[in-house]
């Protein structure tokens, strides 16, 4: 049943007409004023909040932009950062090498002082003192570790003398390697028998 049929069946037009003719009461003026005042105040208070938030939003935007610009300027004025080589994990020295370098430096210092580093080294520092004893200073053309130095390689004669000293010391492999290098550098060289 639709609404039109409802009205036709459920209401009497005479009753409604009589009621509408007689019911003429209106809202008192003071009630009107109270409701309309409340409505206006509600809108005005909301407008005040909207004005405040309307200022806060651009202010926040400007502050964010200013901070970003300052950060960019600060970064552009910072000198280029060069990471140290030691940060490279591949090139990082092994602990044994570190100890070896420290031992060499210590041996050099004792050499300058004319002392034996093995005598004054603490008992637990044998690992560092052992390589230093191998490089004891001698009046020879042999370098501290292996092979001939550049001074010995200046001429074929001194180079050969260095090789002979290596052989005498039992470093035959090093002497053989130096001999091959000597023959490559001086092809006309013939080793004396």
């Amino acid at each position: 049943m639709n609404e039109t049929n409802d009205k036709l069946h459920e209401t009497d037009p005479r009753v409604g007409a009589t009621y509408r003719e007689l019911a003429r009461e209106t809202v008192p003026i003071d009630v009107d004023a109270a409701v309309l005042t409340e409505a206006r105040r509600a809108v005005e208070s909301r407008s005040g909040i909207a004005r405040l938030t309307g200022w806060l939003r651009p202010l926040a935007f400007v502050a964010t932009a200013g901070l970003s610009l300052a950060l960019i300027v600060q970064l552009s004025n910072t000198p280029d950062f060069q990471p140290p080589d030691s940060l490279d994990p591949v090139a990082a020295p092994l602990p044994a090498d570190v100890f070896q370098d420290a031992a060499d430096q210590t041996a050099e210092q004792f050499r300058r002082l004319g002392q034996d580093p093995a005598m004054s080294a603490p008992p637990d520092s044998t690992m560092a003192s052992e390589p230093a004893s191998e490089s004891a200073p001698e009046a020879s053309l042999l370098p501290a570790r292996e092979g001939c130095d550049d001074q010995a390689r200046n001429s074929s004669g001194t180079w050969w003398q260095c090789i002979r000293e290596l052989e005498q010391r039992g470093l035959s492999e090093v002497a053989e390697r130096e001999l091959q290098a000597l023959l490559r550098a001086y092809p006309q060289f013939s080793a004396p028998q």
Binding site: H9, D12, V15, E25, V27, V35, L36, A39, V43
Partner: protein, 219 residues
């Protein structure tokens, strides 16, 4: 009591003076209730004024007849509009505004009854209509008698039937809307409205007989 003009919603204009208020009223005359409420939600006070002027008297009369007490009607009237004002931000035009308005007022009245724990039903509390000097004395007497009979008949109606009748006459609500406002199903609302009309019609017929006797009475 429906507004079918679906004019576009204009941007709210700030009100500066009486001429601006009159202009705003003209601009809002053709707008639907829900459109006016949405404009008020967005800050247009003139839209609320137009909406209020459309429905204030019918809502007041509904509450006046329902409560049978002018002071109660005024209190509940202000409370209902106040709720609508405060809840404007959450307003959604999912139903007719009149249904929304009368539902709020109905609930406010129910809350008022629960608070006061009593229902003042004195028909003599309703103020008398002011006499129109242009009307003849006989006509005034007829109106007064008819009103007395109608008010007496309304008073005798059960609250639910009177509520349904007033929602139909003052709010212009359909059976579905009456059912929605009063919280009952459609058939119950239909039954209440039917019984109310039948009783009022019977009362009106008795008033007509009495009115005839009054007219026959010599001055």
């Amino acid at each position: 009591m429906t507004w079918t003009n679906t004019a576009a919603i204009h941007a709210p204009a700030p009100l500066c003076g009486p001429r601006d208020v009159a202009y705003a009223r003209r601009m809002t005359d053709g707008l639907e209730d829900s459109a006016l409420m949405l404009r008020y939600r967005d800050g247009d006070a003139a839209a609320f004024e137009a909406l209020y002027l459309r429905h204030k008297d019918s809502l007041y009369r509904y509450l006046l007849r329902l409560s049978m007490n002018p002071h109660t009607a005024e209190d509940v009237f202000q409370e209902a509009w106040g709720k609508i004002i405060r809840a404007r931000a959450s307003y959604r035009p999912t139903a007719k505004f009149t249904t929304y308005l009368f539902r709020v007022a109905h609930n406010c009245f129910i809350d008022h009854l629960r608070r006061s724990k009593r229902h003042s039903g004195h028909s003599d509390a309703i103020p008398e209509l002011a006499a129109d000097p242009a009307n003849e004395p006989e006509r005034q007497t007829e109106q007064l008698l008819a009103r007395q009979h109608l008010e007496a008949a309304l008073k005798t109606l059960p609250d639910e039937q009177r509520d349904a009748f007033l929602l139909y006459e003052e709010g212009g609500l359909s059976l579905d809307d009456i059912a929605l406002v009063t919280g009952v199903n459609r058939e119950t609302a239909k039954s209440r409205l039917r019984y109310a009309n039948a009783k009022l019609r019977t009362s009106m017929q008795g008033a007509g007989a009495g009115q005839s006797s009054v007219n026959r009475t010599p001055p």
